[in-house]
Every structure is written in C-alpha cells, then in structure tokens.
Amino acid sequence: MIRLICYLMGGKYMKAANFSYYEAKNIQDAIKIKANDEEAVILAGGQSLLPALNMRLSSPSCLIDISKISGLNDIIIDGDYLFIGALATHSDVMRNEIVSQKMPCLIDILKMVAHPAIRNKGTHGGSIAYGDPAAELPALAVATNAEIILSGQNGDRSINANDFYLGLFETAINQDEIVVGIKYPLLKQGQVFLFDEVCRRHGDYAMAGLIANIILSSNKVNDLKLVFFATGDKPDVADKTAKLFLQTGYDYDQLKNSLSSEIDFAGDLNSSSEMKLHLATILIKKIINKLEA
C-alpha cells in the first residue's frame, strides 16, 4: 500500500514533518494523552509508522512512544488461549518456546513478514492495530477467531478479530484505546492452520495470501474457513467459497467464480485485481496440496 501511494506521488520521498515526541511511562499515561489529542499517534515498533512519516503520508501532532512500557510483551498460555502482548516483537514471537509448541504456524507466517532487522523492531500489536490489508497477522487473527484486547479510559475490553477490521486501515480502536494484546484460541483436536502466499521477493508484502483454518475428521476436511490477505481493503473471509469447496472439491473455474462474487479484489502496483483473483484461486490448491503432503 505504501509503495502504491509512493508511486502515485512520483516516488518523491521526504523527511518527516514536525511532531513532538512523548515517551509514555505506562499504559494509563499513554491512554490519557491519546484520549486528549486526536492527532496524537501511538509509536510501537515504528516499522509501518516511520515509513509513512518519512514519506509524509501521515503528519501527527505527537508520537506517543509506548515501546518502553514494561509488561506489554508477555507470551503466555491464558486458559484456552495463547496470549501475545502487544509489544512482543516479531523476533520475540519467532523465538518463543510456547509459540513453537502451541502455534507453530505463527512462526512459519512470521518468517514471511519483512526481514530480520525489521522483525527485531516491529511488534505483534502494531501489526494487528495497523490493519494493513496486505499484512499476514490481521488475516491470521480473523482466521483463528482471535480476541483483541484493548485498554481505554474505562478499562479493558475484548473484541473478536472478525469485528475488529472495518475497512482500509480502519479498525474498531476508539480514540482513547490502545491494543494491549491478542488472544489466539488454542488448537482443538483435528484443527490445523495452513498458510501460503505469493510475493516477488522473500519478505515483501504478498501479492495475495491465504490462511486456512481447517478441521479434519478421519483425514477429511470437515470444516474450513478461508481468509485472504492482500486481496481487498481488509482481511477477506470467503465463507461461500469454502462451502463450495467442501461440496465439490477443487475446481478452478467454479472457485474462481465464487471468489470473484465474494471478494472485492483491489489491484495494486504489483498485481492487477484479475491477477489477484487468479492467485487467490491457486492458493486454495496450494493449501490443499500441503494438507495432502
């Protein structure tokens, strides 16, 4: 997305406009400032925000740096959920023992998110909160029916990822709220998450990607949720297509037709909407091949 806008601007980059910088001492401190200044923006890992500032796609009044708040990067099992604190970096998550045992697909997914130096700074919560339609984690949150935990002036609330993404970079976060963590339901018996994407260069944003939440019983796909990313303006759930697949198996033309009626494919610099539709259809096949392997 950023590259598209930058292309439209004729590839002219600039330096960030002026803003003030505030290092938040704790969550309450950050919430108070955010609640009182509509133009203030949270700074977590900065790996999406700084490119936007450098290119003046965004010019906030103040950056509220939450990156030094302690206690926001826990990765723990919380009942039937895997909880990941908002400030856990992509590198923290990839190296975590609990994640590798309970949600190994998350590690495979993060290997495709940017490059090591970016993963050392970029945070889990930042990626979820930003809601880039081409990003992997928002789609994963929707595919797994994760709960997003928000903290605001009136305390904490939890919202299901399916209700969190409203449109292009638009989420259900209120002015006075910040994301403090994400809760992924632990895998159930027979449940697998499979993931694949097509991109030009390892680590770049995908041209199209798919995360499938699959329930197997006696080695057959019993239930299926398909969530595409880098296809439309937010993670795209394709329930009709999933149902069709369960009924008829993989048929390129049928599934392509169904996807085109279900998802509003939006082309970008790397791939037209027609190409994304083709890639999305092929991705279903690639996922099924993985399942059979």
Partner: protein
Amino acid sequence: MAANNTLSISFTVNGEKFNNVNVPSRQHLADFLRSQGFTGTHLGCEQGACGACTIEMDGKAVRSCLVLASQANGSDLKTVEGFDDKMMEQVKQSFLKHNAFQCGFCSPGMLMTTKEILLSKKKLTRDEIRSEISGNYCRCTGYQSIVDAIEECINEVN
C-alpha cells in the same frame, strides 16, 4: 505534558559516549548518525526496503531510517565504522577477495547482515544465504560475489 520538538539524548556509538546531545524529535537515527560524522550509515530508500542503513542497536540489527534518534536515548549503537573486531576484519577481507564491494553503497548493511548470520552460527546453503540477505538490495554485484564471500566466511568462522 512533557512532549517536545527537541530532545536531549545520551547514547554510545562504537564505544564512544555522547552525553546530552540535542536532537529534533522528527529526525531519524540514520540522519542523526550521519550528522554526527558516522557517514558509513547509508540511506537508500528511507522506508525500510533497501537495508543500506542497517546498524546494530543494543545488540540487534535495526533499520536506522525506521528508528527515531530520540528513541536511541540510553542505547548502545554500533555502525560499520565500529566493525573492527577479528571476525569483522575477516569478513571485510573476504568481501574484498571476492569483489563483493563494488560501489560500496549496500556494503554497511551487507556487513551487518553477514555479522548476524555468522553470530547465529547457522551453516547455511547458498540458497539460504540468498534468503538471509533478501532484505538488502545491491545494485552492482548481482549478489553472486556477496554470496561467495558470505559462504567463505561461514566456512571459516564456524
């Protein structure tokens, strides 16, 4: 609210201490380091894509164009000028031998990435080396010579 457009920060670069230096809050770390004379840190894209500005911050590789100078308060930074230990001398010799430095624009970032590869102690295949350096653009070498140099370093260091 103690928010400011200019901040006073203290930090270390390559072991040298800097105390109470004023930085504009909007300035990123790469521009700031260059303004302090550390011009080995290069800027290609300022959006995280090319890797030329990669430095080490508190022991981890980061894109210095995507970190604010103000965020470096209290940090220990290492730039290409500080890559003078035995291992990095060996890496530089290897790059020279294989002609992996051409115009040199990508080199600070490539050296940083090579350092991370070597410290991870992983025995990588040529394909895996390519994947590890996929976050660093080189517009001269066609990567072949860089992969040669890194392959040699992996064999020598491990």
